[in-house]
């Protein structure tokens, strides 16, 4: 809708001037560049389907000529010439489009000449309706009587859009035109323009003139209101409201009535609210929101208890929006309604603008109601505004029934009401165990080190394991937050002597969060405890110590502990502490000590990783010594190469010695090439190194039969499926359910009858935060155990993990691999930098975990399988592709061709079938799902298909079920077609199952 008046005023001058310029231009033909001249010549012959290059040239010139009026006028003039010429219709349509933006008065005659043209009338109008000059409107007005049918209707519509009241009378005569298209356009235009008549619904039309439609009457009333004739407008609106049959018209009339009468419309609103038409009631309340007077709020509050329940919920929602405290007593009273929906609406209103007076009702609802009423009551308690709310909640925490007190305390914690702490500390010793537990939980959220002694006392005298655990969690949270760690350590140390075994363990664990000399002495003493649990907790606390002060203790435990488990724990802790050392020499010394103490390759590898990060020439020398140790040779080689690359010529001697040694022991061709390149870079060695020819690695991904546990999971739905006979396993990528938690994803996968899942990093684990946090490498061991339990219970095996980042450094990669190993993952799907592949050769072999390179669509590095193939060349067979068939399609590639190219390198799949750019059930899209499966069968692919269904996010299970059905049917057919073909398993099962 153009706002004509302002445009007209603003642009009249400009247009006249532009017209003058156009005339000037005609007098002296403008000089266009040859390219532009040529473009106009091409335009004249342009037909749809041809290149639009010439059109773009002209459009750009017009756009860029804003500050050059002569050029603009000339360009616009040329377009008018096109309209007058025998140029193609497609060229003329283009000209009209451009003139609609850049044309002026000078363009009007050429456009007006087309207003009755069967093919081009719409496009001429397209330009004229937008040209602000009055002559444009005049041209359409003039054409009106000559036009008929659709062309006439179009002119009427444009004149109405321009608000041309001059045309109103003429348009009025077409309201009863025998062509319904014309008549309907005229009726709408008359309503819009007013047509100068006093239209009102129900008025008998004079003979020959049409009845005003309710729509027209409504617009007429709007005009009266806009003109300040409030009484007349209100009368018209009320009559319309009473007589109209359409609820839409009634709604609009009611809105107008309130706008005209304000608070005085209240009797009509009350009448509506006393009825049962909830839809009109909602409209009435919404209309009434235009009036924010206290009288209105009071009237609504008084009306509330007298209305039927559905109306009450509407009024409550309205009062919530108004948030006027005067209505609060009525809202609180409604919170005790026998009707559940009314109570819920009242609770939601209290959440918006309640104060302490709402607390008893809310606490009661939170303690006794179930379902959404309880959820909403808790949400309201946690958000209730008002300064006096916390103090009132404390009072409720101190007296009343246990259930209510639990809710008050829970909410004080959620509200982070620090002033409530004394009361909650007291409640932590309550007779009711539930009150004690919720108090400890709140203390963990609220308390600082000043409360450490009190929490320690609660921990020591905890009446149950659950309380002790809760107290320990609170204490650990306090220690973690404390600025003054000693203030936490002192009371813990003091309480050690009087504590029983389990409490002592908890205290020792808490000390590993505080650190400090006193704490260390206490933990050291605990390591000599005769209680095996306490001793174990103490050694673990040392291993988790926050600074290097525990290093000497750890080293001596690493060397001399009677329990081999303690040796390992202590040594791992020692190596970790070494990494905290800022002084490179001290750090190196600690690593050397650790190497000397290490008995297992695992810890030696940890040291190598630390040395690699240290990256000094002396560290390289230590690594070089490790090259002889076969158990850790691969890691030593990788570390040496990485360090040598970093050091380069700065430590030529050390680098040369290291690389010479690498060449002496390394068999991998790629590694050897790297070592040689480094040697070349640091300069000529004293004597040429002896290049030992070593056999290439066999490089097959390790094939391992399915373990018994896995077998059970995979066949939980009864027997081995057809697909599994082919070595095909079907699962879900949890990302399909990214609107849900990982736990829900597992449940949905199980509900589909599938036994496998691929996790992705960052998915929230569970709805109720138990366990808390997301699925990623940050999961604690306890959480990992819970997640594994969940998977086992659902009969779903976690097989793949991705798409997850693998950073360029070894330590970063190991974090991912360690986690994957612990979770029993077979394949990590990732898009690592190609430079990382050398490191990945080592890690995939060491961990027996594959890395599959995933392809995001074009513009991401691995979009094309050629790039993946090239990157994988010469690398371990444990590195391959995670074929995302959907993203190939999005990148404009043929997924079947891509699969063929990748034969032998496919490790995992994000299998998809797309239609219109999004996932659809397999077999119903355009990606050729069946042909892709046949190709994979032909290749003898074995492994996991992950269904990654990225559509219909909130309810995709039915569509995924169709994918499963398609997959099973197709697999059955493929097996029938080639029954004897059971290809070897190259899917890369993990060698060790946890």
């Amino acid at each position: 809708m153009v706002r004509p008046t302002s445009l007209l005023l603003g642009l009249l001058a400009v247009s006249l001037w532009a017209a003058a310029m156009a005339q000037a231009a005609a007098a002296a033909p403008p000089k266009f560049s040859p390219a532009l001249d040529d473009a106009f010549r091409q335009l004249a012959a342009y037909q749809f389907g041809q290149s639009r290059a010439a059109l773009s040239t002209i459009a750009d010139a017009l756009r860029d000529s804003q500050a050059k009026p002569e050029e603009r006028a000339a360009l616009v003039g040329r377009l008018a010439e096109i309209l007058k010429s025998d140029a193609t219709a497609d060229a003329k349509r283009f000209a009209c489009r451009q003139l609609s933006i850049f044309g002026g008065a000078a363009s009007v005659p050429a456009l007006a000449a087309l207003l009755l043209d069967t093919d081009l009338a719409d496009m001429a109008r397209y330009a004229l309706e937008r040209i602000p000059d009055a002559s444009a409107v005049a041209a359409m007005r003039a054409a009106l009587p000559k036009a008929s049918g659709r062309i006439k209707a179009g002119l009427i519509n444009s004149l109405a859009a321009r608000g041309d009241t001059q045309s109103a009378a003429a348009i009025g005569t077409y309201v009863r035109d025998k062509d319904p298209i014309v008549a309907s356009a005229a009726a709408a235009a008359v309503a819009k323009l007013g047509a100068g008549q006093k239209a009102a619904a129900g008025t008998k039309p004079a003979t020959g003139t049409p009845a005003a439609s309710p729509e027209a009457a409504l617009q007429e009333a709007d005009r009266l209101l806009a003109a300040g004739k409030k009484d007349e407008a209100a009368a018209a609106y009320e009559q319309l409201f009473r007589s109209a049959e359409s609820k839409a018209i009634q709604s609009a009339a009611l809105r107008g009535l309130v706008a005209a009468r304000g608070q005085e419309a209240m009797p009509v609103v009350t009448e509506i609210l006393s009825g049962a038409d909830t839809q009109m009631q909602a409209t009435a309340l919404q209309s009434l929101r235009q009036v924010a007077l206290p009288e209105v709020v009071k009237a609504l509050a008084d009306l509330l208890p007298k209305c039927p329940a559905p109306t009450q919920t509407l009024i409550l929602a309205d009062l919530a929006t108004r948030a006027d405290p005067a209505a609060l007593p009525a809202v609180v009273a409604a919170g005790k309604s026998p009707d559940a929906a009314v109570r819920l609406a009242a609770i939601q209103a209290m959440a918006k603008f309640g104060d302490a007076s709402a607390l008893p009702v809310l606490v009661q609802a939170a303690a006794t109601a179930g379902g959404s009423e309880q959820d909403e009551a808790r949400r309201a308690l946690d958000r209730l505004p008002g300064a006096d709310v916390n103090a009132a909640l404390v009072a409720l925490a101190e007296k009343g029934d246990a259930a209510g007190r639990r809710e008050a305390i829970r909410s004080l914690g959620a509200r982070r009401a620090a002033a409530a702490l004394p009361a909650i500390l007291k409640a932590a010793e309550d007779a009711d165990q539930g009150v004690r537990l919720v108090s400890l939980q709140a203390i963990g959220l609220l308390a600082d080190e000043k409360s450490a002694a009190a929490v320690v006392a609660l921990l020591v005298k905890a009446g149950s394991g659950a309380e002790r655990t809760m107290a320990e969690t609170a204490l650990v949270a306090i220690c973690g937050r404390a600025a003054n760690k000693d203030a936490c350590a002192d009371p813990i140390v003091a309480a050690m002597a009087g504590a029983d075994g389990p409490a002592k363990c908890a205290l020792v664990r808490a000390l590993s969060r505080t650190g400090g000399a006193k704490a260390l002495a206490a933990v050291r003493a605990a390591t000599s405890s005769t209680d095996a649990d306490v001793q174990d907790a103490a050694v673990r606390a040392l291993a988790a110590w926050p600074d290097t002060s525990a290093a000497p203790d750890l080293l001596s435990w690493a060397k001399g502990a009677a329990n081999p488990k303690h040796q390992v724990l202590a040594l791992q802790g020692y190596i970790r502490l070494a990494g905290l050392n800022r002084d490179a020499a001290n750090r190196l010394k600690m690593y050397e000590e650790a190497l000397a103490a290490a008995k297992r390759p695992d810890e030696k590898k940890l040291v190598l990783s630390g040395l690699g990060q240290l990256g000094t020439p002396l560290a390289l020398r230590v690594v070089t010594k490790c090259l002889d140790d076969e158990a850790i040779q691969a890691e030593a080689i990788a570390a040496a190469i990485k360090m040598a690359t970093g050091l380069g010529k700065d430590a030529a001697d050390n680098v040369r010695a290291a690389m010479t040694k690498v060449l002496a022991v390394a068999k991998d061709e790629n590694v050897r090439k790297q070592a040689e390149a480094i040697l070349k870079q640091v300069g000529a060695p004293v004597s040429a190194p002896v290049i030992l020819k070593a056999p290439l690695p066999t490089g097959e991904r390790q094939a391992v039969p399915h373990g018994a546990a896995h077998e059970a999971a995979a066949t939980k739905k009864g027997g081995e499926s057809v697909a599994e006979k082919m070595g095909w396993r079907l699962g879900c990528q949890a990302y399909s359910f990214n609107h849900f938690t990982f736990y829900e994803a597992v449940e949905k996968t199980a509900s589909l009858g599938l036994g496998y899942i691929e996790a992705y990093p960052g998915q929230k684990l569970s709805k109720d935060n138990s366990p808390p946090g997301n699925f990623d490498e940050g999961m604690s061991e306890a959480v990992q155990a819970q997640v594994k339990k969940k998977l086992a219970a659902a009969g779903v095996r976690l097989v793949n993990y991705g798409v997850v980042g693998l950073p360029g450094d070894e330590a970063g990669c190991r974090k991912v691999f360690d986690f994957a190993k612990k979770m029993g993952v077979e394949t990590i799907d990732s898009e690592p930098d190609e430079k990382t592949f050398g490191l990945l050769d080592k890690l995939t072999e060491e961990y027996k975990i594959n890395v599959a390179i995933h392809n995001h669509p074009k513009a991401s590095h691995y979009w094309n399988p050629d790039i993946v193939l090239k990157a994988c060349e010469g690398h371990s067979k444990r590195i391959g592709a995670c074929a995302d068939t959907g993203h190939w399609v999005r990148s404009g590639l043929d997924p079947l061709e891509c699969l063929k190219k990748l034969q032998g390198r496919i490790i995992s799949l994000h299998f998809k079938d797309l239609q219109d750019g999004h996932d659809v059930p397999w077999g119903t899209g355009t990606s050729g799902a069946r042909a892709m499966l046949a190709e994979l069968a032909r290749q003898g692919f074995r492994g996991v298909f992950s269904i990654e269904y990225e559509y219909n996010w909130d309810n995709s299970v039915p569509e995924i079920a169709k994918c499963v059905e398609f997959f099973n049917t197709a697999a059955g057919e493929l097996l029938k077609a080639a029954p004897g073909k059971a290809p070897p398993d190259r899917s890369g099962e993990s060698a060790e199952r946890p």
């Binding site: 809708m1 153009v2 706002r3 749809f48 389907g49 639009r52 773009s56 756009r63 860029d64 804003q66 497609d90 349509r93 933006i101 850049f102 093919d119 719409d122 397209y126 309706e129 937008r130 659709r150 062309i151 519509n157 444009s158 109405a160 859009a161 298209i181 309907s184 356009a185 049959e245 609820k247 839409a248 709604s251 609009a252 009611l254 809105r255 049962a276 038409d277 909830t278 839809q279 009109m280 009631q281 559905p310 919920t313 929602a317 929906a341 946690d382 958000r383 008002g386 959620a414 513009a859 990148s891 404009g892 239609q915 219109d916 750019g917 559509y951 219909n952 996010w953 909130d954 309810n955």
Partner: protein, 432 residues
């Protein structure tokens, strides 16, 4: 949830409303569904990819009865009609059901008295006009994003929804997800003072290929498909799905996913988006024989509050809110959040803070609002504001110069050519 009496709901006059409010407990629907008279009768207008998805979703809602499918493509409307009837037949003792009609003209759907609400999932250039006509016919509306193809049509649709008391949900469904939390954190100052929002809209690089003029296939009403848009020769690559690459119907990615992404940006920015907004945009437009939307762009919006919103056609699809104390990134689709410092994401929104409306399911949120006559999570004004924001960016790129947008008056300041682009004249006989 309170059940809703559809009889009371449908009969509008006070006289009819005086009849007692009855729940038809004596005639419950099959499989635990509310009685037919208590279901929301819905017509789905546009049953292509997105509309088809909505049909499936609506069939799972117990308190909904899909009464009509409507599409200018006969195959599409008939397929979905059959699917609807098959689904409802399954819950009938007789195993038969014939209660879903199919239409080629949406005006026939709007004329049906038993249809309470319409779901509009047609190409963008039809959104505004069908919304206006549906509101005038008294239907509640779910309309896919963008709100409309032009600023003026969006304004008309939002005005009509308000005027006729209609429940309106824009399909900015990212609001019904984790993005809300990101916006609440921003609104409540968790990253300090918000100064910049970056919205990333990488554009899919589809290939157009040849698109010659061709005969309109049987069963496809091309004239109605074009509707108010200028006439152009028919070619397959103009219509289904691909309309989004053509400026007569769409702004391209800018309004396609842009109406998700910029919507979240504006939701998170809240009152900081105030006018006048200075808009400067550079774009490269597709130069195919048919497709012509911007394929690369960089648009900077500077609000009167000093807030800058930068939209560009690269990066990871999502919204990055940058404040004086950190940043929050909301990934599209699904609203995965990341932040610096990461602890921000664990912070709870407390009492006396800004809480945004809560919804986990966009379609359900609409249905619930129809029943409670409450506000949806993405109401018409919000949808219009977001779509306008995107259109203003396109206009700045088309004109290749800085423009100033008056948010309140919805006019460009001192730029007559830009103002001509606010509305688009309609092909006869269509009009607002």
């Amino acid at each position: 949830m309170r059940r809703f009496g559809r009889r009371a709901f449908l009969k509008g006059t006070l006289a009819a409303a005086a009849a007692p409010y009855v729940l038809s407990a004596s005639a419950p629907g099959a499989a635990g569904r509310p009685a037919p008279s208590n279901r929301i009768g819905i017509g789905v207008i546009g049953t292509g990819g997105q509309g088809g998805w909505h049909v499936k979703g609506l069939l799972e809602e117990a308190d909904v009865q899909v009464l009509a499918t409507c599409d200018v493509d006969a195959g599409r409307r008939e397929n979905h009609k059959r699917a609807v009837e098959a689904r409802y037949a399954a819950e009938k003792a007789s195993g038969a059901y014939k209660g879903c009609d199919s239409y080629g003209d949406f005006r026939d759907v709007l004329a049906r008295k038993d249809i309470d609400a319409v779901l509009i999932a047609v190409p963008d250039h039809w959104h505004g006009l069908i919304s206006v006509m549906a509101a005038r016919a008294g239907k509640d509306i779910y309309c896919e994003k963008p709100m409309a193809a032009t600023i003026a049509e969006g304004r008309a649709a939002a005005d009509a929804a308000k005027r006729f008391g209609r429940i309106f949900q824009t399909g900015s469904q990212e609001r019904s997800g984790r993005a809300r939390l990101g916006c609440e954190l921003v609104r409540n100052g968790r990253i300090g003072r918000l100064h910049t929002i970056r919205t990333y809209l990488p554009v899919d690089s589809y290939t157009q290929g040849p698109a010659p003029a061709m005969p309109v296939p049987p069963g496809f009403d091309y004239d109605t498909w074009l509707g108010p848009a200028p006439w152009e020769p028919y070619t397959e690559k103009r219509c289904h799905f691909n309309f989004r690459w053509i400026l007569d119907y769409s702004d391209g990615e800018l309004t396609d996913r842009g109406c998700h992404i910029n919507d979240i940006a504006l939701w998170g920015a809240g009152p900081l988006v105030e006018g006048p907004v200075e808009v400067e945009g550079k774009g490269r437009f597709r130069d195919d024989t048919l497709w012509n939307v911007p394929i690369e762009f960089h648009i900077e919006y500077t609000c009167a509050s000093g807030l800058r919103i930068i939209t560009e056609s690269s990066g990871q699809r999502g919204i990055r809110f940058e404040g004086t104390d950190g940043w929050i990134f909301v990934a599209i689709h699904g609203g995965d959040l990341s932040a610096e410092p990461a602890t921000v994401l664990r912070s709870a929104i407390g009492p006396n803070e800004v809480h945004l409306p809560h919804s986990n399911n966009h379609r359900r949120n609409w249905l619930d609002a129809i029943k409670t006559r409450g506000e949806t999570v993405a109401p018409a004004e919000a949808g219009h504001r977001t779509a306008s924001f995107c259109h203003v960016g396109l206009i700045a790129m088309l004109l290749g110069r800085k423009v100033k947008w008056d948010l309140k008056r919805e006019q460009f300041i001192g730029d007559a050519e830009a103002n001509r682009m606010i509305a688009r004249p309609m092909r006869s006989p269509w009009h607002l």
